[in-house]
């Protein structure tokens, strides 16, 4: 195998689609030639490092534009704005705990033939039926409240209802004034969830938290692509102390996960389901649910507008190992 062929196979391996024959060819070269294994790792290490960088989101690079962490926090609070694509930054500022009500249902799932109790608890108003009009601006000031960038709760567009009559509508991305050279490409909405009351039901490290969201792009004609993202983060400790730890990195979340779907609009309109899950380490104290409408093609230094993108039927599920026989109940 010449260098050109190896280059091609490695490109296809990390970025493209490989046929069975191609992967067998690469496998044979890796198996027999140490220098190919070395070359493989050079590619893999950069690929992995870039993904870590990507997971920490656009915000991390922009942090270098901030004069200082303290100034960044001050600017953040004074303007009550939240950085697009910076969920951890958002989670850092001014979160106040409160309790939320939960409806509970027990169900059974059996991944890997292992019985698991699934405790389903609703986020406060995950169906957006209990409110209408503009959502509060900025990161939520208490548990059980949806808030974030410009968005509102409206009657759903005329497609098959997911859950009730209303849905969250993404209206406009909001820019962080402290980052004048950075446009706002995503409209972010958050809700904070206290997990401490659930700890009694969990065996440490053997629980997962799963987020499910329905998104809809209601544009009648195809247009600029929009990416919908559902993200879930869990943190330990007291969120009041998080701003002092700015700038946050992804490593400060104990766990995080995200799911996404892409749309360019146009008929037929249909809801797309986005799910993600995170493992709950024993130290987990609270979660942040993050809903995003994002325009990847949004021009630099501009603010993306939405208006025809919706989210609905947000569900959070805690799956634990059963301590008792599985039962069904609700409250």
């Amino acid at each position: 195998m010449n260098t050109e062929r190896l280059d091609h196979l490695l490109r296809q391996y990390f970025d493209g689609e490989m046929t069975g024959d191609e992967i067998a060819e690469l496998d044979a070269a890796l198996h027999t030639r140490p220098e190919v294994r070395e070359r493989f790792w050079k590619e893999a290490h950069v690929h992995g490092a870039l993904r870590e960088w990507g997971l920490e989101s656009l915000g991390k690079m922009e942090l270098r534009a901030l004069p200082s962490p303290a100034q960044a926090i001050r600017g953040h609070r004074e303007r009550s704005r939240w950085l697009s694509w910076r969920p951890l930054a958002a989670a850092a500022a001014g979160v106040v705990f409160g309790l939320f009500c939960a409806s509970v249902a027990w169900a059974v799932a059996s991944p890997r033939a292992m019985a698991t109790a699934s405790r389903l608890f609703a986020l406060v108003d995950g169906s957006f039926e209990k409110q209408s009009g503009r959502l509060p601006s900025g990161f939520p000031a208490q548990f059980g409240v949806w808030s974030g960038d410009e968005s509102d709760v409206v009657e759903k567009p005329s497609v098959e209802a997911m859950d009730g009559k209303r849905a969250l509508r993404f209206v406009r991305a909001e820019r962080e004034p402290a980052l004048p050279n950075y446009g706002a490409a995503s409209c972010d909405v958050y809700q904070c969830v206290d997990l401490r009351s659930l700890k009694a039901d969990m065996t440490p490290g053997e629980a997962t938290l799963e987020l499910s969201v329905q998104f809809l792009d209601a544009r009648d004609v195809k247009d600029e692509p929009v990416k919908f993202i559902g993200r879930l983060y869990v943190f330990s400790g007291s969120p009041e102390s998080l701003p002092a730890e700015w700038p946050l990195t992804q490593k400060e979340a104990l766990a995080s996960g995200s799911g996404a779907c892409d749309s360019t609009g146009g008929a037929p309109r249909s809801w797309c389901n986005v799910t993600t899950k995170v493992l709950l380490p024993p130290q987990a104290d609270f979660a942040v649910v993050h809903l995003v409408a994002h325009k990847p093609k949004n021009a630099a230094n501009t603010t993306a507008t939405f208006g025809e993108q919706f989210a609905d039927d947000v569900r959070l599920t805690l799956k634990t190992q059963p301590k008792l026989p599985v039962r069904s109940t609700s409250r």
Binding site: L26, D27, H31, L50, W53, L58, G205
Partner: protein, 174 residues
């Protein structure tokens, strides 16, 4: 029900997992390639590590132990997804390679090197690694062919690696 000692041991093992999660994620990604699938595999690995925590001796190499579990989980996930994979014995050979040890790719070095790429290539890398778009999807956005995206991505990775190596050399000399 675990004893207090077992709970303490489990917490230490889980702490090790959290400390090594970036390296594990990169290792899994080198096997499954797909970002979303890699995340699922890492989470499955955490569950298995938790289940098998009692078998792990804290005096031994956690990353090697966890990578062996991750390799098994990754291959299982690829089989379930009906995607082609390298053979397990090849992956074991790769893992035994000295080159498998991840170099010091500090995030600030990576960010500085990324800033040296052309704006178009920076955008492409963000679409690839932040938005997790596949080359075909990026090609549509940029008006390129998927193969051109693959080639440009690979070249950008090579440029970044060389750029980071200059930082490493500079630090080694200072």
């Amino acid at each position: 029900m675990r004893s207090p000692d077992e709970q303490h041991h489990l917490a230490q093992v889980q702490r090790l997992f959290l400390d090594h999660q970036s390296a594990l994620r990169a290792y899994v990604l080198s096997i499954v390639r797909d970002f979303a699938l890699a995340q699922d595999v890492v989470q499955e690995t955490f569950l298995t590590v938790t289940r098998k925590a009692g078998e792990f001796d804290l005096a031994t190499n956690f990353l090697a132990w966890a990578c062996a579990i991750a390799r098994f989980e990754a291959l299982s996930a690829l089989r379930r997804a009906n995607r082609p994979a390298l053979r397990e014995e090849t992956l074991e050979l790769l893992s035994a390679s000295e080159a498998a040890v991840a170099p010091d790719y500090r995030a600030d070095w990576l960010s500085r090197c990324l800033a040296r790429l052309t704006p178009t290539i920076q955008r492409m890398m963000r679409l690839r690694y932040e938005d997790a778009l596949k080359p075909g999807e990026i090609a549509k956005l940029l008006g390129w062919t998927p193969n051109a995206v693959c080639v440009a991505t690979s070249r950008a990775r090579t440029e970044l690696r060389r750029c980071i190596e200059t930082f490493q050399q500079h630090e080694a000399q200072s």
